[in-house]
């Protein structure tokens, strides 16, 4: 059996998970990364995506948006603004998140006419949301794209 590492997943409203795991695949802002015991200390921000947790009791997946992960040699903490176990994610959740991201994009387009930075960021957020929705097999409502 592989070496395990303490894993915590907390959202502002509650703590969702706290147990020993073998590895966690984190949707980092710069790309997915897999953290295992003895990982170099890292802090990364999250993009909307799916968090795969492989523990002694099997695989668990959570949908997370917004926040960051703090990885050290003996613990992995993920702080997400929203975290929902994958099985509990409904079409409405996805629709709501995609809608919010689309609104943010439209607003960014209005506010920043000649600055591509914030608009691109918002567009990426929306694309990430949609990709996440597709990835977990729900139909992201793309009417706003």
């Amino acid at each position: 059996m592989a070496e395990t590492v303490q894993f915590d997943l907390v959202s502002p409203e509650r703590s969702l998970a706290s147990f020993a795991v073998e590895q966690v695949q984190i949707p980092g802002a710069d790309g997915d990364m897999t953290a295992m015991a003895g990982h170099a200390p890292t802090i990364t921000t999250l993009r909307p995506g799916v968090l795969h947790v492989s523990g002694p009791e099997g695989e668990v997946e959570y949908v997370v948006t917004g926040g960051f992960a703090e990885i050290s040699a003996d613990s992995i903490s993920v702080l997400a603004e929203r975290a929902i176990p994958r099985a509990d994610v409904t079409q409405e959740d996805i629709d709501g998140m995609v809608q919010a991201a689309a609104d943010a994009l439209n607003k960014a387009k209005e506010v920043f006419h000649n600055e591509p930075g914030p608009v691109d960021d918002a567009a990426k957020l929306l694309a990430d949301m949609v990709a996440m929705g597709t990835h977990i097999g729900l139909n992201p409502n793309q009417a706003n794209l």
Partner: protein, 291 residues
């Protein structure tokens, strides 16, 4: 001297009042538990978040490129006070104590020649501050429809604040809320949230050197706005627990006072009933003697 019927009515009405305050106390006790659980549940997130943010802020903070949310606008001329109170009354000095603190702070700042703006969260504080400081109000957040305060509510408030900050409406924002100490004690607290300030915890700071992905500044820029929401959320939860605690003890007092009042009125009622009987007896006896 009130008549027997009047006394009886009064006793009855005070008894009804006692029933109501008793019920309110029990409701507040149940809600207090829920509010405390919610505050408890949010603590790991808030603590971790602030620890990481403080670490980041310490390493980036001194550089010139630090985000405005951290370093400030370089001025403290325009001060925004975010006054968080309850939507309902009947909770003792809960609302008044926040309003008092906010008013003192506002007057102090005005005396220093600063511009003060006030954003109110919760109806009661708004009502109390309206008379003296009404012209300083720039907005109000209504939470009366909200049953359980969620992170979304905090996010909405934070978004509003950040938009105003980006528009240059204020330089410094301070939130006012009651910190929950115990059922009988809530501490009115003022906390500066923009620019972000962290309690100095240098000595306890991590010795671990983290890799940052993307770089520190990008992370900081991403996390600072979330930090505002996190702090507002924590304040909302503390406030929620404090409100229920304050209401519980206020209603406990009210119930006890009603009980005392009932006792007094009952004694008065019995006395006057006795007096009526005595005077009737005297009338009968003196009537019989006259025969």
């Amino acid at each position: 001297m009130p008549s027997l019927k009047d006394l009886k009515n009064r006793i009855e009405s005070v008894k009804n009042t006692r029933k109501i305050t008793k019920a309110m106390q029990m409701v507040a006790a149940a809600k207090l538990r829920r509010a405390q659980d919610a505050a408890e549940a949010s603590r790991p997130y808030t603590e971790r978040f602030n620890a990481v943010l403080a670490g980041l802020a310490a390493s980036v903070g001194s550089s010139d490129s630090a985000p405005k949310l951290l370093s400030g606008t370089g001025s403290d001329q325009v001060q925004l006070l975010v006054v968080m109170t309850a939507e309902r009354g009947l909770c003792g000095g809960f609302n008044s104590s926040i309003a008092k603190l906010a008013r003192a702070k506002a007057e102090e700042l005005i005396a220093q020649g600063k511009t003060v703006k006030i954003l109110t969260v919760g109806k009661k504080g708004r009502e109390q501050l309206k008379r003296d400081l009404g012209e300083l109000f720039i907005g109000h957040v209504d939470l009366s429809e909200v049953k359980n305060v969620g992170y979304v509510n905090a996010q909405d408030i934070a978004r509003d604040l950040l938009n105003r900050f980006d528009d240059g409406e204020f330089d410094v924002a301070t939130i006012f809320y009651n910190r929950f100490q115990s059922v009988i004690s809530q501490i009115p607290t003022a906390q500066q949230i923009i620019p972000a300030s962290f309690e100095a915890q240098e000595d306890a700071g991590d010795t671990t050197l983290y890799d940052y992905e993307p770089d520190e500044e990008a992370i900081l820029a991403d996390l600072l706005p979330r930090g505002v929401a996190t702090q507002i959320f924590a304040a909302l939860l503390e406030n929620g627990a404090s409100e229920q605690g304050a209401r519980m003890s206020a209603m406990d007092n009210a119930t006890r006072n009603a009980g005392e009042m009932i006792d007094k009125l009952t004694i008065e009622f019995n006395r006057s009933r006795q007096a009526v009987i005595t005077s009737e007896l005297i009338e009968i006896i003196s009537g019989a003697e006259a025969l």
